[in-house]
């Protein structure tokens, strides 16, 4: 296949398609030298902690000495953790999934407007999307707590209209999903915007010229062109949202909306002797997300992302 392309490229007199080979051997070691700092960084801050986390997840507790452990290969930690907190896992995936879908539903029209309709307002909109990052994540989430509070404008209005069963927004899953959606929205908007902005508007015109109405053009041309951005955006939203605990902590209830991140947090920092459980949950979450993401990328992925 490659040779066929190369041959036809030569035939067509297009030198760009034939790969340059000169000087390849002598510069062979350069890429590795350049990789070195990154590799060191990864080893120090990713591989080593990961191994440590893995070994912590298999430790056993000294009998009668809570908070003290010895090295072991205690697979039961995983069974215990998953049977006790499986529901939190499912909840995390469900919340993250909902937030991702909502983010997409909000981000795509926004990114589309920015890329094709905003004209000179494009940069202003871009700044507005990024501006919230200038305030801390925690502060913004606390601000949402005020906005959604029972005495806040939204809950009051909805209550007055009898549209809020239960009477609260905070302390419910709705608040947690809303918080996740809000906090991760820019991570969806920016990659989709980038891929739409790179798309040639002539392609959308070509779609309409070839008998596709607006909706069909959207489905058959615009969305496929934005696919790399959509893929990146969903990953950038789903992965951190699934591991998030701040939104559930600040906007959710103490019991019914806890996500796996909250469990890990409390096992690590508040429960005496929770280390192996927390580590086992962390590793499980990582593996689960990895499997889901790999499946997703294999299904929808393009070369540009992988």
């Amino acid at each position: 296949m490659t040779t066929a392309i190369a041959a036809s490229a030569r035939e067509a007199g297009d030198p760009q398609l034939t790969p340059p080979r000169r000087g390849g051997r002598r510069r062979g070691w350069m890429p590795y030298v350049l990789l070195l700092p990154g590799l060191l960084w990864l080893t120090l801050f990713f591989i080593v902690p990961l191994v440590q986390l893995g070994s912590a997840s298999l430790q056993s507790q000294w009998p009668g000495a809570p908070g003290y452990y010895y090295r072991d290969v205690n697979g039961a930690n995983y069974l215990d953790a998953l049977s006790a907190y499986g529901v939190h896992f499912l909840r995390s995936l469900a919340f993250a999934g909902m937030a991702t879908v909502l983010c997409f539903a909000i981000a795509f029209p926004l990114a589309y407007a920015m890329a094709f309709k905003a004209g000179r307002w494009r940069n202003v909109m871009l700044i507005l999307v990024v501006a919230p990052f200038f305030t801390s994540f925690i502060l913004r989430t606390i601000a949402w707590r005020q906005i959604l509070a029972d005495e806040g404008p939204l809950a009051r209005t909805l209550n007055a209209l009898h549209l809020l069963p239960g009477g609260h927004i905070t302390e419910t899953w709705v608040a947690v999903v809303a918080g996740l959606t809000y906090n991760f929205l820019p991570f969806m908007v920016l990659p989709i915007y980038t891929s739409l902005e790179r798309a040639d508007p002539r392609l959308l015109e070509a779609g309409r010229d070839l008998y596709a109405d607006r909706l069909t053009t959207l489905r058959t041309v615009t969305i496929p062109l934005a696919a790399p951005g959509i893929l990146a955006g969903t990953l950038l939203t789903f992965i951190p949202a699934a591991g998030d605990y701040v939104n559930a902590e600040l906007l959710g209830s103490d019991t019914s909306t806890k996500m796996v991140g909250n469990v890990i947090n409390s096992q690590f920092f508040t429960v005496l002797g929770g280390y192996p459980t927390a580590a086992a949950l962390s590793i499980s979450l990582m593996v689960l997300i990895l499997v889901l993401v790999l499946g997703y990328v294999r299904r929808f992925g393009t070369e540009e992302v992988l």
Partner: protein, 378 residues
């Protein structure tokens, strides 16, 4: 409505079409009829409104005033997918996420053709690219992408096929090859082709009818030979081929000729070959119609003294650049027919003559006045 306009057929008619962008008029009160099945060229310099005109026919832009019709059907205001019109875009605009076959089948699929893929394969055969059907656009050369873009439009059998400088990005050799190819395909499929170009040679060799456009208006329209033989404006005289021009004043008539004086030289223009019959006129004659002499020719009555500025020998012909008394530079082509060619050097005094039946007269306008003075034979 949608299906109605899509079924329209007949000549393409533009009626007093105007397109304004803010305070700029890109297309100015343009009217034309393109007969069904003809190869029509829209020729004009960059920025004169050619693309805008095509986009209004395609429905990608709506005219500020005026109407677009196909046959009896008014398609003004309808959307692009409601028109039996397809475009070969200047940059090809092939869908990068689809294979070549899928690109070509895109239109038929949207129109719910049961045999979209077979139609696509037939169209790819027409442009001789069947062997590349499974590839993606990035894997094709510019010339191949150009042909895919053509197949993707032709496959829909539109009433009108628009080509926006389709050969602009190709190198000269490929361009000549594609001109022949396009002509073949057009006569094979028999569709109305509107071919936009700024290359006068391309327009002349390919089209049945050429419309010369300038500043949003059509200056002149007709078969290529006629445009060349008898330009009606100074712009056409210089955009379609080259012309030697001079501003003069009409003094009277002499039989079938008008007599005008250009910088103290009397010139004659056939009456039917002049747009202007009194007052100021722009006299013109094509470079290959002018003869060059070392001494004053006898009794032609259409001669002018000139000074040679430059001589370039091109094999079949020699091109002379000379200054005439008005100060303008004229170009003269002499075919190298004689065994002993005249040898002239810059600075030599010469006489120019021509058969007055080849002269033409056009209105004097600012562009033409400038051209008459600055004409440098380039």
């Amino acid at each position: 409505m949608a299906t109605n306009t899509r079924e329209a057929h007949g000549d393409l008619v533009l009626e007093n079409v105007t397109k304004e962008f803010a305070d700029f008029t890109a297309v100015d009160d343009l009217s034309l009829v393109v007969p069904r099945g003809s190869f029509f060229a829209l020729l004009g310099p960059s920025g004169c409104g050619k693309t805008t005109t095509l986009r209004m026919v395609a429905g990608l832009e709506q005219p500020t005033h005026g109407k677009v019709l196909i046959g009896q059907t008014d398609i003004t205001g309808t959307r692009p997918h409601e028109r039996p019109v397809n475009t070969v875009f200047q940059s090809y605009a092939l869908f990068p996420h689809l294979t070549i076959r899928e690109n070509v089948a895109f239109g038929p699929k949207r129109r719910k053709a049961a045999d979209a893929v077979r139609l696509a394969d037939d169209a790819l055969e027409l442009v001789q690219l069947s062997h590349l059907a499974g590839r993606k656009p990035v894997q094709l050369s510019g010339g191949q992408q150009q042909r895919v873009a053509l197949a993707r439009a032709v496959v829909n059998q539109p009433e009108v096929l628009l080509l926006d400088e389709p050969l602009g990005a190709l190198d000269l050799k490929l361009r000549r090859q594609m001109q022949v190819e396009l002509k073949r395909i057009q006569s094979e499929v028999g569709l109305t082709f509107i071919h936009v170009t700024h290359d006068q040679e391309e327009a002349m060799t390919m089209a049945d009818t050429v419309a010369v456009m300038n500043r949003g208006r059509i200056e002149q329209m007709g078969p290529p030979e006629r445009l060349y033989d008898l330009p009606q404006t100074a712009f056409v005289a210089n955009f379609v081929g080259q012309s030697n021009l001079g501003v003069g004043r009409i003094h009277g008539t002499d039989g079938d000729f008008i007599v005008a004086e250009v910088s103290d030289t009397k010139v004659r223009i056939p009456k039917q070959r002049s747009e202007i019959h009194d007052g100021e006129v722009m006299f013109g004659v094509r470079p290959e119609k002018v003869r060059i002499h070392e001494s004053q020719p006898v009794a032609t009555g259409n001669d002018v003294k000139a000074t040679v500025i430059d001589v370039s020998f091109t094999g079949v012909a020699t091109q002379y650049l000379v200054t005439v008394p008005s100060g303008a530079s004229w170009t003269v082509y002499e075919q190298n027919l004689d065994v002993e060619p005249i040898s002239l050097r810059p600075g030599d005094d010469v006489w120019l003559s021509w058969d007055p039946t080849h002269a033409f007269g056009v209105p004097v306008d600012e562009d033409g006045r400038k051209a008459a003075l600055a004409e440098d034979g380039a």
